[in-house]
């Protein structure tokens, strides 16, 4: 069954123009993306072992996705044996309903969360809030965008599109509403200190903690989380109930497989050998222990993933959400995450979103947000064949939906004019006669009708007064010219 993802109601052209007309967003996103892409390259250069690990980790993920169902059963059995409750959930509604009824049973009201792209995908915060629960994001970037009521613009740096002054303003606003002192300045230190103090209270008061999972190990029944801030540890160990919401694609077979892939999110994402915190959760607190949650619930969510198993796009499910493809993508660097219109952005988002939610969902993603430059496949630690998927998805879209008649007519005409030398020469001669009306300062800047779109953002040199072919033909028929070295201008 197709999954359900949130969707920006604005059409692509509006989302695109909104992003392109925001120079601050473009500068911030571009800077963060370039910095992370550079850090990734340096990390691999200074750590040769990381390259062999990458291949081993990729193979571990591929093996798991190839045998997903038995691994999920094993994971369920192992986690249950460890004392956790495991639930298979179809989509957003099942996940939200489960947590809401769990909260009702526990008399729980306050929920703290660490960053999870899956819960963004499920629009979980909105659903829980609608049921009367108070949900607090605790990753610093997620906290900022939650206060601003926005969605993440980068998978690792959700608030990458906002600057210090904007963040200080929303923190001050939050402080005023709570009647507490705001941040002492708009420097990073005081801003981080303000968030630390505010969120510390919420961690200690929370009734339920919700995290995602970076990996799930079937052999041991272990949930693995990686963070740099340490907030996932708080969410997982302070409230009396911990709920893990994880995609079924996160499962790995063995503990050895975990060892192979565990460094990849940090290496490929931020250029560290390992994140500051790797948290391994195998069950609720032991009897008699004081630390850790009384109850551990693990929700294994499909939301459109199972239909991809065994098919040509199955490698998409090996994505570890490192964001390396975002950081190198020339389209992402210009428009940022919001322009993609749903949860996942960058090359993987443009491919995965329609695969999860159906080809008619944001169909512009594979069509308009890729230049086929191949930078993403070079950066992807899992070697996901993103450019191939773009081409196949485009073909599938055309096969299933067809193309507007104007597009067909354009390409048919273009094909007829350019596919024989004689026709091509004739086209150039005709275009040269018309081009003097389309020039500015010696450049071709306009074209008639729908061809004009091409010139919206570029120009090109005019067609030469004498083309090479014409010069060659003239040279052949003129003995004087054939001895000269004169070349066409």
């Amino acid at each position: 069954m197709a999954g359900s993802l949130p969707r920006d109601p604005a059409p692509w052209a509006v989302r695109r123009d909104r992003a392109l007309a925001n120079p601050r967003l473009r500068a911030n996103i571009g800077r963060v993306a370039r910095r992370l892409a550079g850090a990734r390259q340096q990390a691999y250069a200074s750590y040769p072992a990381g390259r062999a690990l990458r291949v081993a980790g990729r193979d571990a993920k591929r093996r798991a996705v190839a045998h997903l169902e038995p691994l999920l059963d094993q994971l369920r059995d192992q986690l249950s044996a460890n004392g956790a409750r495991v639930i298979f959930a179809e989509g957003p509604k099942e996940v939200a309903d489960y947590i809401v009824s769990l909260a009702a049973r526990r008399g729980a009201q306050r929920v703290v969360k660490s960053k999870s792209m899956l819960t963004e995908e499920l629009d979980l915060n909105r659903r829980l809030a609608a049921a009367g629960l108070t949900v607090r994001e605790t990753d610093l970037g997620e906290y900022i965008i939650q206060l601003l009521d926005e969605r993440p613009s980068h998978i690792l740096a959700p608030a990458a599109h906002r600057n210090r002054q904007e963040i200080a303003a929303i923190f001050q606003d939050t402080a005023d509403r709570a009647g507490v002192p705001g941040p002492t300045s708009d420097e990073v230190g005081p801003l981080a200190a303000f968030a630390r103090a505010r969120l510390r209270e919420e961690f200690l008061a929370a009734d339920i903690g919700i995290t995602g999972a970076n990996f799930l190990v079937a052999e041991t029944g272990t949930v693995v989380l990686v963070t740099n801030e340490g907030n996932a540890d708080m969410v997982a160990s302070l409230p009396p109930v911990h709920v893990v919401v994880a995609g079924i694609d996160k499962v790995l077979d063995t503990w050895e497989d975990l060892a192979a892939v565990i460094q990849q999110p940090a290496l490929s994402g931020v250029g560290q050998r390992l994140s500051a915190y790797t948290t391994l959760i195998s069950g609720p607190r032991a009897p008699g222990a004081e630390e850790g949650p009384e109850e551990l619930h693990v929700l294994l969510v499909d939301n459109g993933r199972r239909p991809l198993l065994g098919g040509p796009y199955a490698d998409v499910l090996t994505c570890i959400r490192c964001g390396a493809c975002y950081n190198v993508c020339p389209v992402y660097r210009q428009v940022g995450g919001h322009a993609y219109g749903s949860t996942y952005a960058g090359p993987i988002g443009a491919v995965e979103t329609p695969l999860l939610a159906g080809l008619n969902f944001l169909p512009e993603l594979p069509k308009s947000l890729c230049t086929l430059c191949n930078a993403c496949v070079d950066a992807c630690p899992m070697d996901i064949a993103l450019p191939d998927h773009f081409i196949t998805l485009r073909r599938q879209q055309v096969d299933e939906r067809g193309e507007p008649s104007t597009t067909r007519l354009t390409y048919r005409t273009w094909g007829r004019l350019w596919s024989s030398p004689r026709q091509y020469q004739r086209f150039l001669a005709w275009a040269r006669r018309g081009q003097r009306f389309m020039m500015r300062q010696g450049r071709l800047v306009r074209a008639p009708g729908f061809l004009g779109g091409w010139f919206e953002t570029r120009d090109m040199p005019p067609i030469a007064a004498e083309t090479f072919h014409e010069w060659w033909a003239r040279r052949a028929s003129s003995p004087a010219l054939s001895r000269s070295d004169e070349a066409p201008s």
């Binding site: 460890n82 740099n228 708080m234 390992l274 391994l280 008699g288």
Partner: protein, 193 residues
């Protein structure tokens, strides 16, 4: 070890009297003292360090130490608020990996993780024999020790974030200052874990 390159503090010591001095030096370095307020310490390094004379390392006139030794001496819930208000948490370790500069902690009977999470500073006691070459070796150690602990964490440097304008900031949720004291040579009471 890469630990220092990641922003962690590092001391080495022989077992015995020198160790108490190293722990004292580490605590002084890791804790920022506020005037007229004795810093509180949650001492919870687990049974492997029961023989360590913490009273010599953290004398009563300078530190307010809450030791956790053996089974829960405190009321339920008290431990958490002690951890939440401590200036320094002290724990043992399960293993450490040289190539990534990481130290692993496991929640076990007699060893909790809160001292590594809630205080602004965290000091880890580690035996040199617990250091393995690679992270994968360390994970194998964890697996070979029988059942998985309910919770374990691998720490690679201080808590950090780059969520505001991509600038690195240390100490956002977890401890901003982390240190290890590595004890070289055999412990007098080392039964070998």
């Amino acid at each position: 070890m890469r630990w220092e390159a990641l922003g962690g503090h590092y001391w080495e010591s022989e077992p015995g009297a020198g160790l108490a001095q190293a722990v004292a030096a580490a605590a002084d370095r890791l804790v920022e003292r506020a005037p007229e307020r004795m810093p509180s310490v949650l001492w919870w390094p687990g049974p492997a360090w029961a023989a360590l004379a913490w009273k010599a390392a953290l004398p009563a006139g300078r530190w307010a130490v809450t030791p956790v030794t053996g089974g829960g001496p405190m009321e339920p819930g008290a431990l958490r608020s002690v951890a939440a208000s401590a200036a320094l948490g002290v724990t043992g370790a399960a293993w450490a990996a040289a190539d990534t500069g990481s130290v692993a902690l496991a929640s076990e009977p007699g060893q909790g993780l809160w001292p590594s999470l809630l205080p602004p500073s965290h000091l880890i006691l580690l035996r040199a024999a617990q250091v393995v070459p690679t992270l994968a070796d360390g994970l194998r150690v964890m697996r070979s020790e029988g059942g998985m602990p309910p919770m374990a964490k691998i720490i690679s440097g201080p808590s950090s974030t780059a969520d505001i304008e991509g600038q690195l900031w240390v100490g956002v949720h977890g401890p901003g200052r982390v240190g290890v004291v590595v004890v070289t040579g055999p412990m007098p009471d080392d039964g070998g874990r």
